[in-house]
Symmetry: C2
Subunit: 390 residues, 2 copies
């Protein structure tokens, strides 16, 4: 369903011959048919950001986005002036097909860094996708499949507002996932009547509590892009708070799906830090724990090794997160394995069979809380990333 | 040879029954027989530091260290008041045996976090080690074997000063190795006549450019301890600069051995950052690259994936390391794979057969330089840390 759930949007996903995997759908097009053409975006902060990111950051600036074209099979990152011209040429081609300004066409790429795209294939694919545009369930599904790389399944979301407006979205992301945007491409569409300014505010807030709080491997990408477009086709002006809440909910659901499909993962790890002096302190502690390779290996071996949790907590500077180590408790799947900085229940009491592992840390130093997500670190992650050129 | 190379020191390593591996040497004792009893130490900054670290930090404060007792098989970290009392009791026992103040006996532990030591075994082992103390080559070797955990080989160093004073050392460390002390226990001995103050200055500077610049898995330990003792038994007062240089050289050699024995590693990765505005900028860039799981996986697959190098560089904030991404070059084993932020030579030209992989990054923004070391990330690392309880 994904991006075609909201009225006013058409989409397509086609085999353009960009991906090294023969026959894989690798080019998606999502078009906003209006009447509103409002758009907003959030992008990677990586200083080596890819050509399509440089282009699309400019596209969203005026709040108008007519379409997004996305490809897997190549990141078009670290490709210099020639790479940037490929992104421009792609947007120009879509603009000509749709009869809109190229500067209202966002471009997203994902795949191997440091190689130019096969531009003829991209442009031919754009024309083919244009011809295939439709507002059906399957056209939305085709688009969500075309952006996959190491993803094992498409990731989509749909939500219905209380007075009938719709939001739908798709995301790709599996590895090179770190806070400050997980490595991903994401397109969210809505038929609500919402200004570009409100879209941007809703999206920035939503990303901050979703994609910025998941971490598969601590590696920040050069290509992260999240685009939110409103067509206004429902004619419904939503309550702003409800709208913001649903956008946040969509991003959280998509982020959760990324963790569920983290490269080679066998456990999804939810890390909640309670009792912090403020949210930043809670987040810093959660991220330190989520970044621990040793903990991630232990979880893959079904070992609720709380020593690796507290040793990660202990790396957070005291001025960032004031707490007393002797007051800290750690629960894993409901069993208090660390109590007041010392051993609690024996870790053999923890049931590690569920895919989702629930780690709750209480710093006992305040009232603030934050939750971050990560995956375990498995043989399969190493296999994928030793052998996959990305 | 290790700690018994310098005159005035005796050592022993015995099977005390602390380690889960039956018959493994797991308790070491290193004694300074003087005439000088000067000592200095550097410890983990982890806020969940282990009981022996809390004890030994106090021991070195007055500049006098008579002996160091070290055990593998248990970290005695996050063990509360009872754990602290175990460290005190251990030091008191050694003090009684040697006829010295317990407050001049440093204690080091390594192994699983969150469990008390089998204290009776530790104290019986201390007595046995005391009885076995000797200044022979083999007694030094016994000590270096007794501190091993996942290490596959003992790690030792010896150096001779120009006018005849001696320095020797031993270290353990293989996993939970991150900058700001790699996870390790290290004892260095010298027969030079050097004040405690000079020992501390030499050691702090040496650690900063050695153990603080290696990173196996980004995980900081609760137990890191480096102790440097001087017996003065040679009667030689060394040139201070030469002495500092040799201490730095010993620490660098031991740090290099840790990287060479990093858990499951198949490549040692040397990352040199040149052309930085200052050393801190160079270090920040080097550490960001060394921390990349994706790069470490690529290297284990013999792929000189420079996209994963620059995407890590790109996460360093501009105020920490000012540079222009379009001016950055990356050489892997002498082949310039990234030139001016764009593809250079094809990465197939890089010979990845050597164990040591030499990555040289030029930021082209200044004259400062720094080198950090890491290991690749392999199936074997995951295996060790999913199955080994540490």
């Amino acid at each position: 369903m994904s991006v075609t759930f909201a009225k006013g949007f058409t989409a397509a996903g086609v085999v353009a011959g960009i991906s090294a995997t023969a026959g894989k759908k690798d080019l998606a097009l999502v078009v906003n048919n209006g009447p509103l053409k409002a758009g907003a975006g959030v992008f990677t902060t990586n200083r080596f950001c890819a050509a399509p990111v440089q282009w699309s950051r400019d596209v969203v600036k005026d709040g108008t986005v007519d379409a997004v074209i996305l490809n897997s099979g190549g990141a078009n990152a670290c490709t210099g002036v020639e790479g940037y011209e490929q992104s421009v040429k792609t947007a120009e081609t879509v603009g000509e097909l749709l009869g809109c300004d190229a500067h209202d066409v966002a471009v997203c790429s994902t795949g191997l860094i440091g190689e130019l795209l096969p531009l003829d294939n991209v442009l031919a694919g754009a024309r083919e996708a244009y011809a295939a545009l439709d507002d059906t369930v399957s056209s939305g599904e085709d688009a969500s499949q075309a952006i996959m790389t190491t993803d094992t399944k498409p990731k989509t979301v749909t939500r219905l507002g209380s007075n009938g407006f719709r939001i739908g979205g798709m995301v790709k992301g599996s590895g090179m996932i770190a806070p400050q945007l997980a490595t991903m491409l994401c397109v969210i569409t809505t038929d609500a009547v919402v200004s570009a300014q409100q879209l941007q505010a809703a999206l920035s807030a939503a990303v901050d509590t979703s994609f910025n709080r998941i971490d598969v491997d601590g590696c920040m990408s050069t290509n992260d892009t999240v685009i939110l477009m409103a067509s206004g086709a429902s004619g419904i002006e939503p309550d702003p708070d409800e709208f913001n809440g649903i956008v946040a909910n969509c991003c959280a659901a998509l982020a959760r799906q990324i963790i569920g499909d983290g490269e080679g993962s066998s456990h999804d790890i939810k890390i909640t830090v309670n009792g912090a002096t403020d949210e930043d302190a809670a987040l810093a502690c959660g991220r330190a724990v989520a970044a621990s390779n040793l903990l991630k290996c232990a979880i893959s071996g079904n070992d609720p090794n709380w020593g690796r949790i507290v040793s990660s907590l202990g790396t957070v500077p005291v001025d960032v997160a004031p707490y007393d180590p002797d007051q800290v408790t750690v629960d894993v799947n409901g069993v208090r394995v660390c109590d007041g900085g010392k051993p609690g229940h024996d870790r053999s009491e923890v049931d590690m069979t569920p895919r989702e592992i629930d780690i709750v840390i209480d710093l006992n130093s305040g009232d603030a809380t934050a939750t971050v997500w990560t995956d375990d670190l498995t043989h399969e992650y190493v296999h994928i990333n030793a052998d996959y050129e990305s």
